[in-house]
Symmetry: C2
Subunit: 127 residues, 2 copies
Protein backbone atom coordinates (compact mmCIF):
# COMPACT_ATOMS: atom_id res chain seq x y z
CA UNK A 1 0.00 0.00 0.00
CA UNK A 2 1.40 3.41 -1.08
CA UNK A 3 1.10 6.50 1.07
CA UNK A 4 1.88 10.15 0.45
CA UNK A 5 2.71 12.54 3.31
CA UNK A 6 2.69 16.25 2.54
CA UNK A 7 4.98 17.97 5.04
CA UNK A 8 4.61 21.66 5.86
CA UNK A 9 6.41 23.87 8.34
CA UNK A 10 3.49 24.30 10.73
CA UNK A 11 2.20 27.57 12.16
CA UNK A 12 0.90 28.99 15.43
CA UNK A 13 -2.12 30.06 13.40
CA UNK A 14 -4.72 27.33 13.00
CA UNK A 15 -5.88 28.89 9.74
CA UNK A 16 -2.48 28.27 8.16
CA UNK A 17 -2.40 24.65 9.32
CA UNK A 18 -5.93 24.20 8.04
CA UNK A 19 -4.84 25.50 4.63
CA UNK A 20 -2.42 22.56 4.51
CA UNK A 21 -5.13 20.12 5.57
CA UNK A 22 -7.45 21.47 2.86
CA UNK A 23 -4.69 21.21 0.27
CA UNK A 24 -4.10 17.60 1.32
CA UNK A 25 -7.78 16.86 0.77
CA UNK A 26 -7.59 18.52 -2.66
CA UNK A 27 -4.49 16.52 -3.56
CA UNK A 28 -5.81 13.08 -2.59
CA UNK A 29 -8.22 12.59 -5.52
CA UNK A 30 -5.55 13.76 -7.97
CA UNK A 31 -3.25 10.88 -6.97
CA UNK A 32 -5.89 8.29 -6.17
CA UNK A 33 -4.52 5.90 -8.81
CA UNK A 34 -1.04 5.97 -7.25
CA UNK A 35 -1.52 6.51 -3.52
CA UNK A 36 -3.96 4.69 -1.25
CA UNK A 37 -3.40 7.10 1.63
CA UNK A 38 -2.69 10.84 1.52
CA UNK A 39 -2.08 12.74 4.75
CA UNK A 40 -0.17 15.76 6.01
CA UNK A 41 2.28 16.37 8.84
CA UNK A 42 4.25 19.30 10.22
CA UNK A 43 7.87 19.97 11.06
CA UNK A 44 6.90 21.96 14.14
CA UNK A 45 4.13 23.97 15.82
CA UNK A 46 1.28 21.69 14.66
CA UNK A 47 0.48 18.01 14.82
CA UNK A 48 1.08 15.37 13.74
CA UNK A 49 4.84 15.78 13.56
CA UNK A 50 6.63 13.96 10.75
CA UNK A 51 7.58 10.69 12.55
CA UNK A 52 4.07 10.36 13.97
CA UNK A 53 2.56 11.13 10.56
CA UNK A 54 4.65 8.41 8.93
CA UNK A 55 3.87 5.97 11.73
CA UNK A 56 0.13 6.53 11.32
CA UNK A 57 0.40 5.66 7.63
CA UNK A 58 2.41 2.51 8.41
CA UNK A 59 -0.16 1.53 11.03
CA UNK A 60 -2.82 1.81 8.33
CA UNK A 61 -0.86 -0.64 6.17
CA UNK A 62 1.51 1.47 4.09
CA UNK A 63 4.65 -0.31 2.92
CA UNK A 64 5.82 2.67 0.85
CA UNK A 65 5.64 6.20 2.27
CA UNK A 66 6.60 9.17 0.16
CA UNK A 67 7.34 12.39 2.05
CA UNK A 68 6.84 15.58 0.01
CA UNK A 69 8.14 18.85 1.54
CA UNK A 70 5.75 21.74 0.98
CA UNK A 71 8.52 24.33 1.12
CA UNK A 72 9.68 27.02 -1.29
CA UNK A 73 13.41 27.20 -0.62
CA UNK A 74 16.23 24.82 0.24
CA UNK A 75 16.78 26.23 3.71
CA UNK A 76 17.83 24.40 6.83
CA UNK A 77 14.37 22.87 7.20
CA UNK A 78 14.57 21.21 3.80
CA UNK A 79 18.29 20.41 3.89
CA UNK A 80 18.60 19.08 7.43
CA UNK A 81 15.51 19.08 9.64
CA UNK A 82 13.12 17.12 7.43
CA UNK A 83 15.74 14.47 6.47
CA UNK A 84 16.50 14.02 10.19
CA UNK A 85 12.81 13.43 11.00
CA UNK A 86 12.44 11.05 8.07
CA UNK A 87 15.49 9.13 9.27
CA UNK A 88 13.82 8.61 12.66
CA UNK A 89 10.83 7.03 10.94
CA UNK A 90 13.09 4.76 8.88
CA UNK A 91 14.79 3.48 12.02
CA UNK A 92 11.42 2.80 13.62
CA UNK A 93 10.12 1.02 10.50
CA UNK A 94 12.97 -0.87 8.82
CA UNK A 95 10.59 -2.86 6.62
CA UNK A 96 8.92 0.23 5.15
CA UNK A 97 10.30 2.17 2.19
CA UNK A 98 10.32 5.85 3.14
CA UNK A 99 11.21 8.12 0.21
CA UNK A 100 11.87 11.84 0.57
CA UNK A 101 11.08 13.83 -2.61
CA UNK A 102 12.41 17.16 -3.71
CA UNK A 103 10.63 20.19 -2.23
CA UNK A 104 7.88 22.10 -4.02
CA UNK A 105 10.02 25.14 -4.87
CA UNK A 106 12.50 22.96 -6.76
CA UNK A 107 9.90 22.13 -9.40
CA UNK A 108 10.17 23.94 -12.72
CA UNK A 109 6.37 23.98 -12.79
CA UNK A 110 6.21 26.58 -10.02
CA UNK A 111 7.24 29.27 -12.50
CA UNK A 112 4.27 28.27 -14.67
CA UNK A 113 1.89 28.71 -11.75
CA UNK A 114 3.36 32.18 -11.13
CA UNK A 115 2.92 32.97 -14.83
CA UNK A 116 -0.73 31.94 -14.67
CA UNK A 117 -1.39 34.07 -11.56
CA UNK A 118 0.35 37.10 -13.11
CA UNK A 119 -1.36 36.88 -16.50
CA UNK A 120 -4.83 36.21 -15.11
CA UNK A 121 -4.50 39.13 -12.68
CA UNK A 122 -3.43 41.35 -15.57
CA UNK A 123 -6.45 40.22 -17.60
CA UNK A 124 -8.74 41.03 -14.66
CA UNK A 125 -7.14 44.46 -14.28
CA UNK A 126 -7.52 45.44 -17.90
CA UNK A 127 -10.86 43.85 -18.76
Amino acid sequence: MNALLLVAHGSRRDESNNEIRALTKALAPKVVDQFDLVECAFLELAIPFIPQGIQALVDQGASYVQVLPYFLARGTHVAKDIPREVAKARVANPNVTVVLTDYLGASDSVANVLRDIAVSTLDDSTS
Copy 2:
Protein backbone atom coordinates in the same frame (compact mmCIF):
# COMPACT_ATOMS: atom_id res chain seq x y z
CA MET B 1 4.97 49.80 -19.38
CA ASN B 2 3.97 46.76 -17.27
CA ALA B 3 6.15 45.38 -14.50
CA LEU B 4 5.95 42.26 -12.35
CA LEU B 5 7.55 42.09 -8.92
CA LEU B 6 7.89 38.67 -7.32
CA VAL B 7 8.00 39.15 -3.54
CA ALA B 8 9.56 36.54 -1.26
CA HIS B 9 10.17 36.52 2.47
CA GLY B 10 13.93 36.89 2.32
CA SER B 11 16.48 34.76 4.16
CA ARG B 12 19.76 35.14 6.02
CA ARG B 13 21.07 32.51 3.62
CA ASP B 14 22.25 33.95 0.31
CA GLU B 15 21.50 30.64 -1.40
CA SER B 16 17.79 30.98 -0.59
CA ASN B 17 17.65 34.55 -1.88
CA ASN B 18 19.50 33.46 -4.99
CA GLU B 19 16.88 30.77 -5.57
CA ILE B 20 14.33 33.59 -5.80
CA ARG B 21 16.53 35.55 -8.18
CA ALA B 22 16.96 32.48 -10.39
CA LEU B 23 13.21 31.85 -10.34
CA THR B 24 12.63 35.46 -11.39
CA LYS B 25 14.97 34.97 -14.33
CA ALA B 26 13.09 31.78 -15.26
CA LEU B 27 9.74 33.55 -15.01
CA ALA B 28 10.62 36.58 -17.16
CA PRO B 29 10.58 34.85 -20.58
CA LYS B 30 7.30 33.12 -19.71
CA VAL B 31 5.54 36.49 -19.33
CA VAL B 32 7.50 38.47 -21.91
CA ASP B 33 4.35 39.24 -23.90
CA GLN B 34 2.63 40.78 -20.86
CA PHE B 35 5.39 42.29 -18.72
CA ASP B 36 8.24 44.48 -19.91
CA LEU B 37 10.05 44.25 -16.58
CA VAL B 38 10.24 41.31 -14.14
CA GLU B 39 12.14 41.69 -10.88
CA CYS B 40 12.07 40.37 -7.33
CA ALA B 41 12.04 41.96 -3.89
CA PHE B 42 11.98 40.78 -0.29
CA LEU B 43 9.86 41.48 2.75
CA GLU B 44 12.87 41.35 5.04
CA LEU B 45 16.46 40.08 5.43
CA ALA B 46 17.44 40.67 1.79
CA ILE B 47 17.39 43.57 -0.63
CA PRO B 48 15.72 45.23 -2.37
CA PHE B 49 12.80 45.58 0.04
CA ILE B 50 9.34 45.89 -1.48
CA PRO B 51 9.01 49.71 -1.69
CA GLN B 52 12.50 50.02 -3.18
CA GLY B 53 11.77 47.21 -5.62
CA ILE B 54 8.59 48.93 -6.80
CA GLN B 55 10.38 52.29 -7.01
CA ALA B 56 13.12 50.81 -9.20
CA LEU B 57 10.48 49.53 -11.63
CA VAL B 58 8.75 52.92 -11.70
CA ASP B 59 12.09 54.62 -12.30
CA GLN B 60 12.55 52.34 -15.32
CA GLY B 61 9.24 53.54 -16.73
CA ALA B 62 6.60 51.18 -15.32
CA SER B 63 3.10 52.67 -15.06
CA TYR B 64 1.58 49.35 -13.89
CA VAL B 65 3.32 47.26 -11.23
CA GLN B 66 1.95 43.89 -10.22
CA VAL B 67 3.20 42.49 -6.91
CA LEU B 68 3.02 38.69 -6.62
CA PRO B 69 3.64 37.19 -3.15
CA TYR B 70 5.75 34.01 -3.32
CA PHE B 71 4.26 32.61 -0.13
CA LEU B 72 2.48 29.36 0.67
CA ALA B 73 0.05 30.39 3.41
CA ARG B 74 -2.10 33.38 4.29
CA GLY B 75 -0.14 34.27 7.41
CA THR B 76 0.59 37.71 8.81
CA HIS B 77 3.14 38.40 6.09
CA VAL B 78 0.57 37.91 3.34
CA ALA B 79 -2.39 39.39 5.20
CA LYS B 80 -0.76 42.48 6.69
CA ASP B 81 2.94 43.04 6.09
CA ILE B 82 3.02 42.89 2.29
CA PRO B 83 -0.12 45.06 1.85
CA ARG B 84 1.46 47.62 4.19
CA GLU B 85 4.65 47.77 2.11
CA VAL B 86 2.66 47.99 -1.13
CA ALA B 87 0.63 50.86 0.36
CA LYS B 88 3.86 52.77 1.00
CA ALA B 89 4.78 52.48 -2.67
CA ARG B 90 1.31 53.65 -3.74
CA VAL B 91 1.64 56.78 -1.60
CA ALA B 92 5.05 57.48 -3.10
CA ASN B 93 3.77 56.91 -6.66
CA PRO B 94 0.18 58.12 -6.95
CA ASN B 95 0.23 58.01 -10.76
CA VAL B 96 1.29 54.37 -10.90
CA THR B 97 -1.15 51.46 -10.69
CA VAL B 98 0.18 49.01 -8.10
CA VAL B 99 -1.79 45.75 -7.99
CA LEU B 100 -1.29 43.08 -5.34
CA THR B 101 -2.18 39.58 -6.53
CA ASP B 102 -3.16 36.56 -4.51
CA TYR B 103 -0.26 34.56 -3.07
CA LEU B 104 1.16 31.44 -4.69
CA GLY B 105 -0.36 28.98 -2.21
CA ALA B 106 -3.87 30.23 -3.02
CA SER B 107 -3.63 28.86 -6.56
CA ASP B 108 -5.48 25.63 -7.30
CA SER B 109 -2.60 24.75 -9.61
CA VAL B 110 -0.24 24.15 -6.70
CA ALA B 111 -1.95 20.83 -6.01
CA ASN B 112 -1.21 19.82 -9.60
CA VAL B 113 2.49 20.57 -9.13
CA LEU B 114 2.47 18.42 -5.97
CA ARG B 115 0.73 15.64 -7.92
CA ASP B 116 3.42 15.79 -10.61
CA ILE B 117 6.25 15.65 -8.05
CA ALA B 118 4.62 12.72 -6.21
CA VAL B 119 3.83 10.67 -9.31
CA SER B 120 7.20 11.24 -10.99
CA THR B 121 9.03 10.29 -7.78
CA LEU B 122 6.94 7.13 -7.56
CA ASP B 123 7.78 6.28 -11.17
CA ASP B 124 11.48 6.76 -10.43
CA SER B 125 11.23 4.55 -7.34
CA THR B 126 9.52 1.67 -9.12
CA SER B 127 11.25 1.77 -12.51
